[in-house]
């Protein structure tokens, strides 16, 4: 089905609605477009689609529009929308279902730096069982090639004893790594062989 939305033509994928409902645990169909989520969203200025438009896009099965949007990556996860939705929907669950689906399909070009941050965070957790900020920032800089951002802040934090040179690690780090890998490999609707996630920018997850 072809859908014309504000002059943009998109293809509707009706099965996409079910997929996102299942991944998020939220019945996206219940959204009646009151716009309360959009009104209270603190991250709107970084978004290309308003949160209520993301919800409408999912309802209409506009997979490409939604998965390739910047909005899903720029959600700050503050849950203001989730606290205020009159239909009791947790939009953060929906946003995270969308980012994880976009990530699994390798659609990350809308915000590669945000993806690099989350990958780098989970890489250090995968190795050590805990987050190691110095390692995370190093990995992120390698991925984004943005070597100089926040160097001054890093020096200040170091001077205050707030940057650990040596990482803490968990004895059960192999178990933590297994939990991370299995979570990434879990796909909905299947008992089939898991599809490995598409690694980006030197991703090692």
């Amino acid at each position: 089905m072809r859908v014309l939305d504000q002059g943009r033509e998109s293809t509707s994928h009706p099965e996409f609605v079910d997929l996102i409902c299942e991944l998020s645990g939220e019945d996206v169909r219940k959204c009646y477009q009151c716009g309360k989520c959009t009104a209270g969203c603190p991250a709107m200025e970084e978004m290309d689609l308003a949160p209520s438009q993301v919800m409408r896009g999912v309802q209409a099965g506009l997979k490409d529009l939604v998965l390739d949007s910047r909005s899903i990556w720029c959600c700050a996860g503050c849950q203001t929308c989730a606290a205020r939705c009159p239909k009791g929907l947790d939009l953060c669950h929906v946003m995270k279902a969308l980012t994880s689906e976009a990530y699994a399909e390798g659609r990350t070009s809308a915000a590669p730096d945000v993806v690099a941050f989350h990958q780098s965070f989970m890489d250090t957790v995968g190795v050590l069982g805990r987050n190691y900020e110095l390692g995370m920032i190093g990995l992120m800089k390698l991925r984004t090639r943005n070597f100089f951002q926040d160097i001054g802040l890093g020096m200040k934090l170091f001077a205050k004893g707030k940057i650990n040179l040596l990482p803490d690690y968990v004895k059960g780090n192999a178990e933590v790594r297994r939990l991370i890998r299995e979570s990434l490999a879990k796909r909905p609707h299947t008992g089939e062989t898991p599809v490995p996630p598409v690694a980006q920018g030197g991703g090692s997850l």
């Binding site: 603190p42 941050f117 190691y132 004893g161």
Partner: protein, 277 residues
């Protein structure tokens, strides 16, 4: 009273003074903190962004590790607190998932507390007020709750998501004069701090100017991500100092400031007796 302690990853780095002050405060209150053995990262925002299953998976291990201690859990970091509680709720609602991760029933019902939640009960407001030794009445803080301690209300079930009062009640009990202000539950944007710094600087600027308009002379928070962000992204010529709730309460009941890690702040080193706050 024994409390199962989940320090969180930031306790060893950017949130060090939060951990130091929380530990010193609990010692002064006679609460025995026992660190949860071999706890792992809660996954913060990143786990959920990459997979809808990852946060529950990581925290099922934490809940199992904590179950051995058979005590209520204190997770001072608001992100850890939120992820632990959210995962616990999800595992309670999905028995098949709890069985898959072999989470014992006890772990599904263990109480998980944030710092203000603990203080309201252990030792409670009356006892806190009796313990005050140092006059901090010159501090007129804006109590800053941020997001993760309050939302989503369905999972955290703590205070009122829009009009919380717990931190103001605690601060008043220990002799401070918290101000009424409008950005107490606004998001500071911490999860985008290293990827969208310009946006986050704006967001922090809005919060700080709200507090200043209400004549706050400092901010008090109970989240290491909020405090790092509010301190490091303030671009104002006269920045507002930001303190941890644990530092303030401990200082008020007479714990020496050097035990609280207060010297590690980026904006204001001095807490007790400082002039011109």
């Amino acid at each position: 009273m024994t409390i199962a302690y989940f320090p969180g990853c930031s306790a060893a780095s950017t949130g060090r003074e939060f951990a130091e002050s929380t530990e010193a405060l609990c010692e002064a209150l006679g609460l025995a903190l026992v660190e949860i053995p071999d706890w792992n990262c809660c996954g913060a925002t990143s786990a959920g962004v990459l997979s809808p299953h990852m946060s529950a998976a990581l925290n099922s291990r934490n809940l199992k590790q904590a179950a051995a201690l058979d005590a209520p859990i204190l997770a001072p970091c608001a992100a850890c607190y939120n992820r632990l509680k959210t995962a616990q709720l999800e595992l309670r609602e999905k028995p098949a998932l709890a069985a898959e991760y072999e989470v014992p029933a006890k772990a599904l019902n263990t109480r998980i507390m944030n710092l203000p939640e603990m203080l309201l009960e252990y030792p409670g407001l009356e006892r806190l007020a009796e313990m005050v030794k140092v006059d901090l009445s010159y501090l007129h803080p804006g109590a800053y709750y941020g997001c993760l301690m309050l939302r989503p209300p369905k999972a955290v079930q703590f205070d009122d998501a829009e009009q919380p009062t717990s931190m103001e009640r605690i601060l008043t009990a220990v002799g401070l004069h918290p101000v009424d202000w409008c950005a107490r539950t606004e998001c500071c944007g911490a999860s985008l701090a290293s990827t969208r710094p310009g946006y986050v600087t704006n967001q922090v600027g809005k919060i700080v100017s709200c507090a200043k308009r209400s004549e706050a002379n400092c901010l008090v928070a109970a989240c290491p991500l909020c405090v790092l962000n509010l301190e490091s992204r303030q671009a104002e010529p006269e920045p507002l100092p930001v303190f941890y709730l644990s530092e303030i309460v401990a200082a008020a009941i007479g714990v020496a400031p050097e035990k609280l890690g207060t010297q590690r702040h980026l904006l204001s080193k001095a807490l007790v007796g400082a002039k011109g706050h």
